[in-house]
Subunit: 202 residues, 2 copies
């Protein structure tokens, strides 16, 4: 397997952290986002949507979309499960992963996409929407603080893909000056814990 990667973007980091937790080590090929290498051939043959990361399987299959890649790696490397094991657990992890995505990743991602100069010539930006997301980010982080008041990790007692999702997007939020407020003690405790795992530097 090969992972088409970029050290500049949150979704590739999500997959790298996921692999590090599972002890999976495969070749990483850097794709130059700043120069638009992902928006032209030969990359577009791998992923016509132009997004990173992309996982190339040994049979030549290309799998795009971060969660699809994680799903493949989870099934292929069942040890160290990060997406739950029983049906009930898998569903609950998926529920929390999606909440981490819709509340945290989407808010921070859209704040970046719709206000940052990087995307100015790449998408049709809607600055009003980007500002709304920036404005809502503190409330979303406060929501996550409330979740983490009750449990050590987002989906409960165990570190899962929901934690990885929140970690990489919260860290990426620095690009648009979104930071964890001093008063969010549960979120800060969690962030310190998950950042101390060796996988966090993957």
């Amino acid at each position: 397997m090969i992972l088409y990667d970029s050290t500049a973007a949150p979704n590739p980091r999500l997959v790298r952290v996921f692999m590090a937790e599972k002890g999976i080590s495969i070749p990483l090929v850097q794709v130059d986002l700043a120069n638009g290498e992902n928006r032209r051939e030969p990359f577009l043959s791998k992923n016509p949507m132009g997004g990173l990361p992309v996982l190339e399987l040994d049979d030549g299959t290309w799998i795009a979309e971060t969660v699809a890649i994680c799903r493949y790696l989870e099934l292929d490397h069942a040890a160290t499960p990060l997406m739950g094991t029983s049906a009930r657990e898998q569903a609950l992890v998926e529920m929390w992963r999606r909440r981490a995505e819709s509340e945290i990743a989407s808010t921070i991602g859209n704040a970046f996409r719709h206000t940052h100069p990087f995307f100015a010539n790449r998408i049709k930006q809607c600055e009003a929407y980007g500002r709304l997301c920036l404005e809502q980010a503190p409330d979303k982080l406060a929501w996550l603080d409330g979740v983490l008041q009750k449990t050590p990790f987002i989906a409960g007692e165990t570190y899962t893909i929901a934690d990885i999702t929140a970690l990489v997007w919260i860290d990426f939020g620095r690009a648009v000056n979104i930071r964890i407020g001093e008063n969010l003690s549960h979120l800060r405790r969690w962030h310190e814990t998950v950042s101390a795992r060796p996988s966090a530097s993957a």
Copy 2:
């Protein structure tokens, strides 16, 4: 099991179609979205995010988030797989489901959320963003037409959760006057085929 449902919204329909394809029949309890029954107790104990549908398991566990519910039902009722079987297939179905979500469901969903009076007092609307989504919808449908030029169903040869996702959101698009253009013959052929399945009326 019990499904907390609403006949007015696309996500509950997605789960009903998914269940109909699998031959799963469980009690449906209607939650009155128009009157905000989903934004107060006792519903908020089931899903603090206030969203529908919610699946209640026999042990009392509440599972929210549409895809998490589908994941539970897929694992619990392995016959008639709608999310792939091998690791490679599951990952590819997830890739296409996410594309159906990010390109079609998000565009139509945000066009509705940010322009429709239903959400005026429910969320902080950003009309400029809603209009941008409305404006982009024809291109997104044209993208899906291109996908369906190559394969009978979105993820390939088989009907999957990716088709259900696109079906319920495209149909819901009528609420904001988004319709499949006459020229999109592949998308029209697909829409006719998937709408003719008995599950479409679930």
